[in-house]
């Protein structure tokens, strides 16, 4: 079910009850509707400010990145003019010894976390009901566990993933131990499976 991110309050303009002592009901309804419209305009302007704020923050981060890139490009431009192909001596052994270039692959982590939550969703979260205060019963438990965790546990999925990872590493360790004990003669063959082969440069392969 999609979550409504921003809601303009009040939703209904003329649903309030008319007071008993009012004679001109139509005027009363009109006035209360206009007052609700003014509240709606206030809510709308707050949401608009939030929207523009989010867009501004994102554009600002791109501006910083672009500035950084511009500095790097300027440095490169200077460096490139200083390079001289006649002076450089490249030996074939040196090319083979050097590690091949690997770009830094930055993976986004914790994208949907507490720190990246947008403001209207935080407000919605705080408007919600709190869970019942079951943690006051924690001192009376025999197993010394947090009583609220039996009702709601935010860290449940992380703990599950952690258990899975620990189990996976334990299984790999057992597998390695089994390989070592079962086939000691082939332990040299077994090594490339655990270690990554170093990348070869194209010059070396063309020589062969």
């Amino acid at each position: 079910m999609p979550l409504v991110k921003r809601r303009i309050e009040p939703r209904h303009l003329c649903r309030g009850a008319v007071p008993d002592e009012v004679t001109s009901e139509l005027e009363c309804v009109t006035n209360s509707t206009l007052a609700a419209i003014i509240k709606q305009l206030g809510s709308l302007s707050r949401h608009a400010e939030d929207i523009f704020g989010e867009l501004f923050n994102e554009a600002n981060s791109f501006y910083m990145r672009m500035n950084n890139l511009q500095e790097r490009v300027d440095l490169l431009a200077v460096k490139v003019t200083q390079l001289d192909s006649t002076v450089e001596e490249v030996s074939l052994q040196d090319i083979n010894m050097r590690k091949a270039f690997k770009s830094s692959t930055i993976q986004d982590q914790q994208v949907v976390s507490r720190t990246s939550i947008p403001n209207p969703v935080v407000e919605m979260y705080h408007r919600g009901d709190k869970p019942p205060p079951l943690n006051i019963l924690s001192p009376y438990r025999d197993d010394k566990k947090d009583a609220l965790k039996f009702y709601t546990d935010p860290s449940y999925f992380f703990m599950l993933w952690r258990e899975k990872m620990l189990q996976a590493t334990e299984d790999k360790r057992k597998e390695k131990r089994r390989q070592k004990t079962s086939c000691p003669a082939h332990c040299d063959q077994g090594r490339p499976h655990t270690r990554q082969a170093p990348p070869r440069s194209p010059l070396f392969s063309s020589e062969n």
Binding site: I8, I51, A59, S104
Partner: protein, 80 residues
């Protein structure tokens, strides 16, 4: 008796009803404008986000290219 009373009250009542209709039309104009503003804000937000996402992709590609060129140029320097 009732019809005479109704005829006498017709003008102020009718006036009040006409005024109410005019007020409601005014309120309707304002609320439809509010809805248009909300629609505009949503579409502006979406279009801005898609443009910023395109910009982000281009920036990432540029960063990777510059990293590669830096590695090439720096290699040349160390060999001298």
């Amino acid at each position: 008796m009732l019809s005479v009373k109704m005829a006498g009250q017709e003008d102020p009542v009718q006036r009040e009803i006409h005024q109410d209709w005019a007020n409601r039309e005014y309120i309707e104009v304002i609320t439809s404008s509010i809805k248009k503003i909300a629609d505009f804000l949503n579409s502006f937000d979406m279009s801005c986000r898609s443009r910023l996402a395109t910009l982000n992709e281009k920036l990432t590609a540029l960063e990777r290219r510059i990293e590669y060129i830096e590695a090439r140029v720096t290699k040349g320097e160390t060999l001298t």
